[in-house]
C-alpha cells in the first residue's frame, strides 16, 4: 500500500531519491567536479519537487490572453514556477563560483581530490610555520 502511494507520487519520490544522491555526492565524493555536479543535481531535485507541487493534472501554463478571457481555474499554480526560476539563477551562480574555486585550487595543488587538497594546504601551513621559526 505504501508502494501504491509512492507510485502515485512518483515525481516527488524521484525528486527525493535524486536529492539523496546529489546530497551524498556533494558531501562525500572526493572529486570536486563531481561534488559540483552533485550540488546541481541536489538543487534540480528540489526544483523538481517544488514544480510538481504546482502541477494540476489537465491544467495549462499560466499565460492569459490579452482580453483575460481564459478562466483562472484552467491554469496551474504560478508560484512554484516563479520560485524555481529564482532557484535556477541561484544554482547557476553557485555553480560558477564553485567551478572557479576548483580551477584555482587545481592550479595551486594539481589535484581535484578535496581530502588531498586539505592535507596539502595543512602541510604548506606547517612548512610556513617552520620557515618562520
Amino acid at each position: 500500500m505504501n508502494l501504491q502511494i509512492l507510485l502515485e507520487n512518483r515525481v516527488e519520490a524521484a525528486a527525493i531519491i535524486l536529492f539523496g544522491i546529489g546530497l551524498t555526492t556533494l558531501l562525500l565524493n572526493r572529486n570536486l567536479i563531481k561534488k559540483i555536479i552533485g550540488f546541481s543535481f541536489m538543487d534540480s531535485a528540489i526544483f523538481l519537487f517544488l514544480a510538481s507541487e504546482g502541477y494540476i493534472a489537465g491544467h495549462t501554463a499560466p499565460i492569459q490572453d490579452a482580453a483575460g478571457s481564459l478562466s483562472a481555474a484552467s491554469f496551474i499554480n504560478p508560484i512554484p514556477a516563479g520560485l524555481v526560476l529564482t532557484g535556477i539563477v541561484v544554482s547557476v551562480s553557485v555553480t560558477a563560483v564553485m567551478l572557479s574555486l576548483t580551477v584555482r585550487l587545481y592550479q595551486r595543488f594539481h589535484t581535484l581530490n578535496l581530502d588531498e587538497i586539505v592535507q596539502l594546504a595543512r602541510e604548506a601551513n606547517e612548512e610556513e610555520e617552520e620557515a618562520n621559526d
Binding site: R10, N31, I33, K34, F41, A51, G54, Y106
Partner: protein, 88 residues
C-alpha cells in the same frame, strides 16, 4: 504522457547514478548536460514553459559550457606543468 514522465524520471535517476560511477570527468559533464536537457522536457510536461526556456539556456547552455571550460582549463594547467617540467 504518464509513460513519458515515468521514463524521463527513470532517465534522471540513471543519469545521477552514472555520474557517481563514471571515472571520466568529461563523461560526467556530458551527463550533466544530458540531465539538463531531460529536465527541459520534464518542465514542458509539467506545463512550465518559462522554466523550460531558462533551463535550456542556463542549465544545458551556460552551466555546461562552464563545466567544459573548467575541464579544459584543468587540462591546460596539467600541460603547462608538464612543459615546465620538461624545460627543467
Amino acid at each position: 504522457m504518464e509513460m513519458v514522465m515515468t521514463l524521463l524520471l527513470i532517465i534522471v535517476l540513471l543519469n545521477a547514478i552514472m555520474v557517481v560511477r563514471t571515472k571520466h570527468l568529461l563523461a560526467a559533464c556530458i551527463i550533466f548536460m544530458a540531465q539538463s536537457l531531460v529536465m527541459v522536457l520534464i518542465w514542458i510536461l509539467l506545463q512550465s514553459p518559462d522554466l523550460a526556456i531558462t533551463e535550456a539556456a542556463v542549465g544545458a547552455g551556460v552551466s555546461s559550457l562552464l563545466f567544459f571550460l573548467a575541464l579544459k582549463k584543468i587540462q591546460a594547467i596539467d600541460q603547462g606543468k608538464e612543459n615546465s617540467a620538461h624545460e627543467k
